[in-house]
Symmetry: C3
Subunit: 349 residues, 3 copies
């Protein structure tokens, strides 16, 4: 049994196959390949896109999604082992994993870091514990990485740029009133380097670099696959020649757990906003963001409403990539997905 | 593409057709005409009937409903344009509308006024913004009007009275411990006048009149369609001869945003409760209410449990009218709805 | 029309039939016998297992489940009759029951006691009021008894022990930081005695006995069906010879409504935890618990992870027993449930 916790655990061939399956599902969305199956969606944090795209995606495949919010409508969960559970948690992840594995064919979990202690939170223990005890595949719906978003991003990159290898991908930090989860930044760095793009990470200074695990992974990916990786703090240099601009705000690891210091550190950098002037420096780049996005804070209205903004297209791609993922985790491959009517001949040829 | 924001935007023929479709769906409820389709239900306020009837109604048609509660399980939303979003809202309605349009075939929104500033809130900007940016039909699930309730009300009026034109419809204000949304009152006035009924609005005094937009609309409706409109503060006069009594509490516009003043203003009028003595003055009228209803505050137990109370029948009608609405917005007409087995001949004849 | 409020209201033959149907559904889970039907699930308290197993169980039968949380996403409900509803409740259970009966084919309710006044709460008025006004079958999803759990427990007992009559069933109290609902303890006592087991109730002292209604019922059950009932405060004696150990924490009726006193009273009894040493005294007993369970508080990690722990199996059984229940309440019997392919001959024989 395979989990989907981090794209880095999956082969490039399997990732390509997911993206190809997603492309086909987009053409021919209603195929009841998962009739009678079900997926439990555990949200410890809010969701709009993830929840809706999984629910609708499952339904179109004939499956049922059950949304659970432990600590709100379900019981608070203990994720550590060997503890005497006389605190707030009413049950252990071992039982939650076992029970949901009994009822459902797949389990998704969203569990953001709590912004307290990065040394501990970078271990991503919640989803690790779930995967350890689940007897069905577990899907990461965003913890300290967001691999479903990676698939949607790369499906969008391919749709717009064709083969990603050798194209210029800019991941730019941007300001936000609160320190945010680094997951999507870690993920963008992971997947763009995995697909051999020339990756530029733009951030205000060296203290805004992402965690070493993800920096090292990106370096290794480009060594293996091709492409390149550079970090810069020079906005102009970063945007020049970019083919794809991806924006994300993230908290500074040096001030992790200290939101006031974080806010003070970020204050001078509101000008990292993605605006028309910066986009004009690019190679007529596409712009995207994982959403939710604060307009005129992370990107201007002008950028968001320009024809080069593909944030909505990326969000739309969440649905077919997650359908592909559910199918693949339950043993289906591209050959199980029927072509749209009238397209069968092309596939044979 | 058509939205369903306000019945006044729809032709009388289209409203009649919805009610006819609803009648047929009631006879033959399970028709999978929306297989593989989906509706997003955005609730900024609580719901029992609306949520359940849309979910069950969609399911019986083969569709899926996704329930979202922005600000609770999804992100808080900005509805204004051009703002620098550095406050509480994490994303803009433009993106929410775009994303949900990508995943779903229909979007419903419930967004009550916040009881702060009526001049601003009477613009009903939230659903306006959603409709502006959505690329699929938007359904008003109650804002400052409640058009789905109007359909259920009028379906119930027709069921009980036959053709509504010229029948006496009493909309009576009643006391409630808190100032309530005027939506259902605005709606009852709108739809009863639209269907050419003789409409009486009973309220404690002139300061309890509904917003001018809805008063003027009702006057215009009866001018166009027939029927009549009067406002009275005389309980006896109002009930005499009524064929249909519809109760609703609503806040006083003169004290909008000032709940203490509102409560003080309403205090002398607890006797507006619908009771058996008042119902005895009518033309053996049917009684209804949109629910939820506080018993022995808005209507007595005796009225609620009398055989002339059709509040449950009206609530039950929410399901088929909303099924008809979803079908119509997605291109289906009455001819797509199969007759119950054994009834086909009657339709031909 | 039959409700499912308490197993004691059902005949032993009907309970046996439910368990048999559940066994068959387990073998052949996807049978769309309830296509187009729906169940409303009203939760006044959190749920993981109940919510998920009803949702997935309904979906596999072709039905839809609607989850409602009155007071959170739906309106607060009044359960008393004749009250002037000028407090917090926005609507009456009579209307809720009527409306949900109009939309759905079944209604489930979870309504824990509030731990204020046992004399009042032992009347279980909420579900009584719902059942009185509903025109469709009502299912108890845990109030002061938990009959769905009883079915899952007894299905598990039969799976592991074969015929339950005459086997030794130990219901042991255990410590918990908060006073908990007695429902599952009442239920375990009810169903084990109903199935003629030799029931031992182990608790720290006479003040920890369950409510007289359930003690008397258990005594009567064993008088009628066979088996025996004893209460003991001697841990060793209780465990010796047990075939099935069932753990549950519950609040002390003598301190009902007084959590501080309760906590003080319970403090000396943390050693009632189910551990390996106690399990070694048994007849190689199976261990189970309704879950959620606090590890190393109610039972040790060692007990939970031992091959004799069937808590997950019991939780898994929630799904087929509740499917059987929904089917039976809607008129289906064992003959409507198809055998798995290849098994039809055995059934004939």
């Amino acid at each position: 049994m395979t989990h989907f916790l981090d794209t880095q655990d999956w082969s490039r061939a399997d990732l390509d196959s997911l993206l190809e399956m997603a492309g086909r599902l987009r053409e021919s969305p209603a195929q009841k390949l998962l009739e009678g199956r079900s997926i439990a969606l555990l949200f410890l944090n809010p969701s709009l896109r993830t929840s809706t795209s999984f629910q609708v995606g499952a339904a179109r495949l004939g499956a049922t999604a059950v949304v659970l919010q432990p600590g709100r409508d379900a019981w608070p969960i203990e994720f550590d082992f060997g503890t005497v559970m006389d605190g707030a948690a009413e049950e252990h992840i071992a039982e939650v994993a076992g029970v949901l594995s009994a009822y459902c064919d797949l389990i998704g979990l969203r569990a953001f870091p709590r912004f307290e202690d990065w040394a501990e939170e970078r271990q991503d223990r919640l989803i690790g514990a779930l995967a350890r005890y689940a007897s069905v595949p577990v899907i990461n719906m965003e913890t300290i990485v967001h691999p479903c978003q990676e698939l949607a991003l790369m499906r969008t990159v391919k749709d717009r740029l064709g083969p990603p290898a050798g194209r210029n991908f800019l991941l730019t930090w941007c300001w936000h009133p609160k320190p945010l989860n680094m997951a999507v930044a870690n993920s963008a760095l992971t997947i763009a380097s995995r697909f051999a793009m020339n990756v530029t990470l733009l951030c205000p200074g060296p203290e805004w670099r992402l965690d070493d695990r993800y920096m090292a992974r990106a370096a290794e990916n480009v060594k293996t696959a091709g492409g390149s990786l550079r970090v810069t703090h020079d906005i102009d240099q970063a945007y020049r020649g970019a083919d794809f601009v991806y924006a994300k705000s993230w908290g500074c690891l040096a001030a992790y757990g200290n939101p006031e210091r974080q806010t003070a550190m970020a204050a001078p950098y509101r000008h990292f906003i993605v605006d028309e002037a910066k986009m004009d420096l690019t190679n007529d780049a596409w712009f995207s963001h994982c959403l939710p996005l604060r307009r005129n804070v992370k990107a201007t209205d002008g950028v968001m409403e320009s024809p080069r903004c593909v944030a909505l297209a990326e969000a739309a791609n969440r649905l077919p990539v997650q359908q592909a993922l559910m199918l693949k985790l339950l043993g289906h491959g591209i050959d199980n997905i029927a072509l749209p009517i009238g397209e069968e001949d092309k596939a044979d040829g």
